[in-house]
Symmetry: C2
Subunit: 493 residues, 2 copies
């Protein structure tokens, strides 16, 4: 086992520097004074280079080959497979291509921040062209190594094991029923007026509410924190998980549900298998599974009638100075389940959200597979938005194809994770409901049995199983979009 | 200049990892949840090992030799000298000795935290014995390399260029007049009653006050922060300086003056020469000079009548709910200039403080030079405390020789920096007063001319000059304890 142990110790060392990088990133987003950003960028580049060098250690592939002859258990096999995957993903590209893409991405993203505000597709597309070309080159190289299509290869970076064929099937299924469902829900909700949050909701009180809810959701404050950042995220390390939110004094809706969402990410990280800490096998399985946990917390638990019944009196008690009618169970439920087709993905409700994802998936797939040009994106976007959500984005780049950050740095293949996560979450909840009286748990504010199920079936698995095996072992079948459909129908119709 | 540039790039790289280490240390002391401390310690050990390996790069001494033939200006010469000093300091000891001392120090310090509370000298001295022996070994090795005495060699780690001979002269001078001065001040202050702070001073208001004072003192919040930690410190990097304080709701005195003190450290760091960022020559000159800046802010500015005239109405305004008589100019001045011989160094006033330092200096000098044994410390401590401050510490280890953290990890040679700093600060202020109407500046709250002087004469010099040259160029003479004496006499008699 000499080589296997040596390999593990190399990866554990790399993970320590990655932990440091994660805390430094958190610091950058939450604590760092703005005047230090340039010096900090230099420090972080040095750290990132060091991690890159450690990850490229030429001894690693030799050790991997030798280690395969040493191991015996299936866990060791998984451990080694994940090391091999990690090694391949980070070594298949030349340093030149990695650097060129990083530079082009940083340039495009930076300019995008103002170009988006100015609705300036022409200027944006000049930077974006390079990002697309370099990403296509990357996709081609990865595709050849994996013997698959370019887009499949990119998809595998975020959702290993998932394929375009499977996604096409799933998304075509969703496309069959989603437009009609959206219509029905909208018609139903037309006759259901509600009171919108108005007035001031002091940040101190919002934070108090957020912390209480995190506690109820089992967040371990001995190994984590809640802070403020411009863009909410879940960062830090699995031993020291740090979630952030953004408060709007005029609205408590977003920050509260955002905290619940990030708490889902956090509990997954806090629940990863200790035994494999520092190894690829001990990390989160995929972006889709990660999102399944945040959406389980937000959509399956957070927006359920039972959980809103818990939130309502809590809010009434904390926001004492506000109009109490806002916080009735019925009104809160209406607020948190409102469906409204709109332009912006990040503000979308859970019913219209898949339409945003399918649109992006179809475009980025064709883009990576060189079926369309980056120039065609605005037109395709407009056509698909009309088709899926009955909205035109003609000339409206800002709220159309320029709204997301993902493509600006070449993260093609990421978007499907969101809807995969929503579907996994619905499937998990359907299974749990067969085993546990979930409504009773939620009504009694006794969430432990639900978390125990998640811990045993998802969190503790780390990356020891392939995604499909996680789903199979947990739910006795592969990913099945029917559960997601049933979830939406039962909540919204 | 090929080798010179290569050398500089090696040191700039090291400094980037040291910056990361500094922010991570700050995080550990201010933000990190306690449950992460074990995992964090592992991450930090890995980072520290990496910095150590970079610093030991065997190419460095070759490059130094070659670079001396390439350089031409005096600044390049200084730059290279400081690199050489840094290299020698960190490479003269074997890795085994460094590790043994680090381990023994960590063990001794950790146990000390409870042993001190329990007044348990016997148990403490068992760990301490090893720390002393390893430090003596270190001092011996450094002494041979520098052709000097063991204690001189240790002193040079913190105050390069300072010698036992010079310190003996200075401290013997102070010993001639200090006991008498303390007596006189005490007799004078007996007839000057004052109102002690009583009641609650909410942390929020103390922080508000602290931030206002930092602003007045020119702290650059665009490149720094104020936070809370158990032990106040000034950390972070020169681009991102982070000071901390500790608030006591029953007393605003300590935290306020602590903030002023740390602001002095911070402004020195913020004012270091940009041109030499990341190089040893761009760092703070010495511990004594660092302390001179914090004490300049605290003692020369902060406790002056003029500055207290500014603090008094500010405090009256902020602590509105408190008894306003506490905050009269006269009362605040009495609070902030009270002299009282006592056991604990960190709580000592500026008049009795040097006695604490001289006592420690005399003991640690004899200890490193093997004139006394660690076993003799309690007895010597008691004798000297009686002699200098008329207090007995017999059997009182807790408030005697076990009170400080410095010796527990073998930082012998550090203590003189405190009193050197106080003397430098007094000498700087005496010089400034010859050039600028300081009282007018302080009364008008126009501190810019004072900071401009400090920046030009101290901060911008970094480590480009030897300490004695800094003092000479700034004040036209070498360190002269007479200024410190005059400062104390003029303020306290």
């Amino acid at each position: 086992m000499k080589n296997y142990f040596k390999l593990k110790s190399i990866y554990k060392k790399i993970s320590k520097f990655k932990n440091i990088e994660a805390i430094m990133h958190w610091d950058q987003a939450t604590m760092m004074p703005s005047g230090s950003s340039e010096a900090r960028a230099e420090d972080m580049a040095e750290l990132s280079l060091h991690i890159h060098q450690l990850s490229k250690n030429p001894i690693i592939p030799e050790l991997i080959d030798l280690a395969y002859n040493e191991i015996s258990t299936s866990e060791e096999q998984s451990c080694l497979n994940e090391i091999k995957r990690s090694w391949s993903n980070s070594n298949i590209l030349t340093d030149d291509l990695v650097q060129a893409k990083a530079l082009a991405g940083a340039k495009c993203e930076h300019a995008w921040r103002t170009q988006r505000e100015e609705n300036d597709w022409i200027s944006f597309s000049q930077n974006f062209k390079t990002v697309v070309e370099l990403s296509q080159e990357e996709a081609q190289i990865r595709a050849e190594a994996l013997q698959t299509t370019p887009y499949n290869a990119m998809l595998n970076l975020y959702e290993p094991g998932m394929s375009t064929n499977e996604l096409d099937n799933i998304f075509n299924n969703i496309k069959c029923w989603l437009p009609n469902l959206i219509n029905q829900v909208q018609q139903k909700q037309q006759n259901e007026p509600y009171i919108k949050p108005e007035g001031t909701f002091p940040i101190k009180q919002q934070k108090e509410m957020g912390l209480k809810v995190m506690k109820t959701l089992g967040f371990d404050f001995n190994s984590g924190r809640l802070d403020i950042s411009l863009h909410p995220f879940c960062g830090g390390t699995s031993q020291d998980i740090r979630i952030t939110t953004r408060y709007d004094e005029n609205d408590f809706i977003q920050s509260l549900m955002g905290i619940i969402h990030e708490t889902g990410h956090a509990r997954y990280e806090q629940g990863l298998p200790q035994k494999y800490r520092g190894l690829p096998a001990g990390q989160a399985r995929s972006m889709g599974i990660h999102e399944s946990q945040s959406l389980f917390f937000e959509m399956q638990i957070g927006r359920s009638s039972e959980f809103i019944s818990y939130l309502a009196p809590l809010a009434q008690n904390i926001f004492k100075q506000n109009k109490q009618k806002i916080f009735t169970k019925d009104n809160l439920k209406k607020i948190y389940t409102r469906v409204q087709p709109d332009y912006i993905r990040v503000d979308a409700d859970e019913v219209t959200y898949p339409a945003h994802i399918i649109l992006r998936y179809e475009i980025e797939k064709d883009l990576m597979n060189k079926k369309v040009s980056y120039k065609d994106i605005p037109e395709i976007w407009d056509l698909k938005m009309k088709k899926y959500l009955n909205l035109s984005t003609k000339g409206n780049y800002k709220n159309g194809c320029m709204q997301d950050i993902h493509w600006t740095d070449g993260s093609f293949g990421y978007f499907p994770s969101y809807t995969l996560g929503a579907m996994y979450a619905a499937q998990f909840m359907a299974t749990i409901k067969n085993q546990i009286d979930v409504n009773e748990c939620l009504s009694q504010k006794n969430l432990a049995p639900i978390f125990k199920w998640l811990s045993k079936n998802i969190w503790e698995k780390g990356s020891l199983l392939e995604t499909n095996d996680v789903i199979m072992q947990a739910t006795n079948e592969s990913l099945n979009p029917q559960y997601f459909k049933e979830h939406l129908e039962s909540r919204y119709l």
